[in-house]
Amino acid sequence: MSIRTVTFDAIVVGGGGAGMRASLQMAQSGFRTALISKVFPTRSHTVSAQGGITCAIASADPQDDWRWHMYDTVKGSDYIGDQEAIEYMCSVGPETVYELEHMGLPFSRFENGRIYQRPFGGQSKNFGEGGQAARTCAAADRTGHALLHTLYQQNLKNGTQFYSEWYAVDLVRAGDGKVAGVIALSIETGEVVFFKSRATVFATGGAGRIYSSTTNALINTGDGVGMALRAGMPAQDMEMWQFHPTGIAGFGVLVTEGCRGEGGYLVNKDGERFMERYAPNAKDLAGRDVVARSMMMEILDGRGCGPNGDHVMLKLDHLGEEVLHSRLPGICELAQTFARVDPVREPIPVVPTCHYMMGGLATNVDGRAIRLSGGHEGEDQFIDGLFAVGEAACVSVHGANRLGGNSLLDLVVFGRAAGLYIEEALRQGMEQAEPSADDLDQAMSRLRRWDASEKGESVADLRRELQETMQNHFGVFRKGDLMAEGVNKLADLRERIASARLDDKSQAFNTARIEALELDNLLEVAEATALAAQGRTESRGAHSRYDYPDRDDENWLCHSVYDPKSGKLGKRQVNFAPRTVETFQPKVRTY
């Protein structure tokens, strides 16, 4: 089978914040770089990020220190964030935020002309001793939009070569396992092309669509993680899914934590500000896992609001029209459009909603994908030619629970770091892996399978069933027997999806084919999530089990590593060796 090949020094799959920060770095280096994205880059999910990018630029508080931010992030991660990576992110952060500003990002401002910072959950001063910190840099409540458009504009300026509306189908690997590029499909024409390159960067974002209720865009189907798992590569900490406290009930659309940062709070049906009971100090700005669980307890204890008692309320009206319209204009718009309430007058009905994938492809600080075999401890080995950044990666700065505003920082810090590393590696003569015709053929097998399908179930039905399974069996609270049932359902779904049908085989703008290919990836991510959740027999961060309610540092102060070949869960050491500060030792985590 012959296939057109285009050759680059590096390709980036994904045009969100992480992908475009990486491509920008490489475009500036002069190496031939292509960015492949299944949507026009500014339509990537990063555009939805609202509240801001957390970083100790010492604007709101001139005393602020990146080490305090580091402490908060380690604590937030429930101690399975890698301290070397967190140290890197928090210390390099200010430089990357200033770069964004110099690129033109329209941050909101304080009177003195510096970047506006707002309080966000889990942020403290002086290693948890000095009260709430305001550390989240914001462009009103449209920070992701401002960031993504700014990065797109800079990529235009620097001549990045875009392949917009191209869909990456699978990795191409040479016989020895080295990554040689990807097979991708032009959505507009249906043409299939081999993108051959020395470095392949996955910046494919999250996979919130494995759940039926999510804040994530419809395109967040975990394609990068899915492609890697299919290629037999491992994924780390996949049980760790963040449920955001404030998804608009019934719609999943997010209202930012910045609402609580600006002074909003949650109330139950009695009008009680219940977070005072669960987190006496931080209250509504405790870690997201803590707030989401508290909300669920209120609901389960019969103090939820509405006719079905299935949500709580986010109260904002006391902040006044002026603050709401200047600081949270997008939230006012969303609340009106979806919940049909005006937050200036009424509270917004909210419920914990699937939001963020803390797990993903394990990488080091340079974005290099780590190869692990089950149960492996010790020295990392790398997958030649493959890199991952952003939500698809697990570097891991978020551990078991991400702090608000830390994802955008993760995107730009590690997108840039990967770009810098690849630039240097290319200069040092990084080699191109040479796949055989068979290798290419293998990477095309999925396309062939769908195109040959005639009978079987429909993609939409299977997707719905998969999402409901995840929602019902792997939600905020988890239980062994319920998860075992879920795992069985997924095994059944795997067989049925393998023989599902694609009706439409046409070439031009065939979105049915894309949705079919996405379904395969949803399944891979869902299964990794399920097996990892079942395997981690403790409660930590976002992973909360009725049958194992306590954190178990003796056995589980480690990353979980899901091996798709055996279906088994292994462990990997957490890095406790930052370079310039002392290790933050695990403590009981309270807010």
Binding site: V39, T42, V47, H102, G104, G113, T337, V459, A460, A508
Partner: protein, 238 residues
């Protein structure tokens, strides 16, 4: 309720046509995008773009009962009077004025090209400080109503001047972005930017018809931005 959708598949259709679907919404005031998703479950071949489903990514601009809008934030009750109650069909067509690739997906190429022409990025070659460049809240406030554009093309494809001169008139979206950078206290390329617009077509084809303002789903006002640039150009001329 009845939904009438524009169909065109270049591989099988010689001409575009309208297909009618009967959809049971149970009387709920769904978003138009939800209705399209229901149709797509029955006919997976229906092509349209969507991503965020909350009005921030700009993917699903389309023409709904004669008006350009984002399907994901247009409830049936706002599509047109009578649609929600089933008294009138919901009529969905692609954005006008751009070539159709398939069904509701249009070729946005020319729209993006016009955007690129205005150099939509900050230009400032002065050495940057070690921290951010300072900007007062008042200076920053000048960017409100400009930077929020999501490039959905609802405005540009409703502009008669653009229909007539899509290659030469930049269109409201691109001009709004041009002003976004002209208005930025940090930008240093005012003259260069104005030089580029100073011809009879790029900007001066705007006839102030204001279609762009009335359709913008983000409530932005390209006409006003065009007015600001126009005055700058005229000021310069005297």
């Amino acid at each position: 309720m009845k939904v009438s959708v524009y169909r065109y598949n270049p591989e099988t259709d010689r001409e575009p046509w309208m297909e009618d679907f009967e959809v049971d919404t149970g009387g709920r005031d769904l978003m138009v995008l939800d209705v399209l998703a229901m149709i797509k479950e029955r006919d997976p071949g229906l092509a349209y773009r969507r991503s965020c489903r909350e009005g921030v990514c700009g993917s699903d601009g389309m023409n709904i009962n004669g008006r350009n809008a984002l399907a994901c934030v247009t409830p049936l009750s706002e599509a047109a009077p009578g649609v929600l109650e089933g008294r009138k069909p919901l009529v969905i067509r692609p954005l006008p004025g751009l070539p159709v690739i398939r069904d509701l997906a249009v070729d946005m190429g020319i729209f993006y090209e016009q955007y690129e022409k205005v150099q939509p990025y900050l230009i400032n070659d002065e050495p940057a400080p070690a921290i951010e460049r300072l900007q007062s809240p008042e200076e920053r406030a000048k960017l409100d109503g400009l930077y929020e554009c999501i490039l959905c093309a609802c405005c540009t494809t409703s502009c008669p001047s653009f229909w007539w001169n899509p290659e030469r008139f930049l269109g409201p979206a691109a001009l709004l972005q041009s002003w976004r950078f002209l208005a930025d206290s940090r930008d240093r390329a005012t003259e260069e930017r104005l030089d580029q617009l100073d011809d009879p077509f790029s900007l001066f084809r705007c006839r102030g018809i204001m279609n762009c303002v009335s359709v913008c789903p983000k409530g932005l006002n390209p006409t006003r931005a065009i007015g600001h640039i126009r005055s700058k150009l005229l000021e310069r001329a005297v």
